[in-house]
Symmetry: C2
Subunit: 339 residues, 2 copies
């Protein structure tokens, strides 16, 4: 391992976005006198009669949830994007705006109010993967939808407004900023090298073994070299696939296993239900050629030192570049020990 990376301030390149992260390893020693997060380690019942997402309960708009038994998907009652909203375009000198249409969905991972992905077994997580595949496929058929963002906000500190384990899918007409960047960099590399950027990166990581947390036949869980969040990770399929529909039959369960192993390790790290935002970046759905895409799932968890001390991405990070103290390699070692 290159020890300079563990000892001296440096920046690392995110090959997918083309942006840099500042790493200041020596700064991990800084004492913390700032804000502590509240921990919500309360015991949750399997069914909460006041929860909008539990089976059989009435949602805020009066609709009644079915008595679902595994995964339940419905259209967001407060969708940020809609398909019937007006289209318009403004190009008034330096003021530029374009209407945006889309479909937002909520996906309850299981009827059990108390179980996060970390508490579910791989077979049940596989049902969530099936639901993601189904939604991606169906949304892609809609001419208005050119991109499908699957994500989860877990924990109150990540803005999750309901503790019932659930994720979301926001799908829309245009490519969001982050997807646009990753599309561009993957395309550049693919055109030049005729191979997948992430696939070639994976080959390097599998030889080095410095940032790999876990692998099975089809997936690698690693801390990317350019990770921003203290315990940021990525689940990457070994075989290049542009979207999750390309998973082979036995690969869905292996993907579920990777999610299961990772989320369980996260919960052990600070002995708390570990908060994060996770998301799947995959090929747009506008029928263009996206053979340069290699889909992946990322986890951005905010906690830094304990269940109550998080990393704040604030002043310098907002105005300059993301900045981290603990290095990717140290974060990887800590997580690997918990597998």
């Amino acid at each position: 391992m290159n020890t300079d990376l563990q000892d001296y301030s440096h920046k690392r390149l995110n090959i997918l976005t083309g942006e840099w992260v500042l790493v200041s390893p020596h700064r991990a020693k800084r004492p913390w006198q700032g804000q502590n997060e509240a921990i919500a380690n309360e015991h949750r019942p399997a069914h909460d009669p006041r929860c909008y997402l539990c089976a059989g309960n009435t949602r805020i708009n009066g609709e009644i949830n079915p008595d679902y038994t595994d995964v339940f998907v419905f259209t967001n009652d407060f969708a940020a994007l809609q398909t019937d909203s007006k289209t318009f375009k403004i190009e008034d000198g330096l003021l530029k705006a374009v209407s945006e249409q889309g479909i937002c969905k909520v996906i309850c991972f299981s009827p059990d109010h108390s179980k996060s992905l970390a508490d579910m077994d791989a077979k049940d997580i596989e049902k969530v993967v099936f639901a993601w595949q189904h939604e991606y496929k169906e949304l892609a058929k809609n001419d208005l939808i050119n991109y499908v963002q699957i994500f989860e906000n877990k924990g109150a500190v990540m803005g999750c407004s309901n503790p019932h384990p659930h994720g979301q899918i926001w799908s829309q007409t245009s490519l969001p900023n982050e997807v646009y960047k990753k599309d561009k960099h993957q395309l550049n590399y693919y055109t030049k090298n005729n191979s997948s950027l992430l696939g070639d990166y994976l080959k390097q990581e599998l030889i080095k073994k410095e940032r790999i947390i876990f692998e099975n036949d089809s997936f690698v869980v690693l801390v990317p070299f350019w990770a921003i969040w203290p315990f940021e990770t990525m689940i990457v399929p070994k075989r290049q696939q542009s979207n999750i529909l390309e998973l082979k039959e036995d690969e869905t369960l292996q993907f579920a296993e990777a999610i299961s192993v990772l989320t369980k390790a996260y919960d052990k790290l600070f002995n708390t239900s570990f908060p994060y935002s996770s998301g799947i970046h995959q090929a747009p759905t506008d029928d263009n050629d996206y053979s340069h895409w290699h889909w992946h799932m990322s986890f951005y968890p905010p906690l830094l030192r304990s269940a109550t001390v998080k990393k704040f991405m604030v002043g310098y990070e907002m105005f300059g570049s993301p900045q981290r103290d603990i290095t990717a390699e140290i974060a990887c070692n800590k997580l690997k020990e918990l597998i």
Copy 2:
């Protein structure tokens, strides 16, 4: 005013970064059941014997603060960047890293532990402006320093680890991501139009008067058309200037007045000491020609509905694009009423 912008989902272009923000006006009606922030409205003494930043106190590294009477600047005891750290470069296939050097400083706005910028009068804020100018000038002389980021994290929710009113300056060898983007877009526009991007934008805004909160002879305070944070604002000099050293004699006080008026309005908005990260983006200091730069100071405050309910930039925002509910125009009207 274009009412489509108030009624339907759309994206707006940030002309300085080239990135988009998703605006979903109808979503402002969504009820909030998520995390509430703790408010730290405790009464602070003018001098706190346990505070590392108060005059005469001993800092964590054993140094004793002088008995300063206005602004006090010192090198950060836990600097993320240093000038004597090792330089190196790694280009190992797809792993790219470069050492980064720099100088990090802390700037106490006044000896009074209890007074934020909002509580200081313009004459005292002007002393802070003088200190920023002095630091920018001195740091720029150092060959290792090519960019100087002045910023403030205010409030525990913004990761501020000490309530004593203070800001920071991180200066470094390479351009941070955000500065790189703004440099590129300002240069493109300047080369094409031979005038300042932000100056021309300002002209449009001064005619429309839909997003202007306050102006004096030399400065405009506005909610930029592409604002991300609910009550995000920008202080822009009317005259094009590439950095704060170009302020004319009477302009430093007018800049201070703009800061004073804005921060006071912020505190009134939710009747709380309003948290934010603020920062000044200005020309790099590497002796190249930066006549395309128009410096500006931005405020990114997280609060959305009250002193305890903030906007979370999480899942969709991290993986897709920033997203807001309340429009820039409504935010502007609310702030304008409080001037």
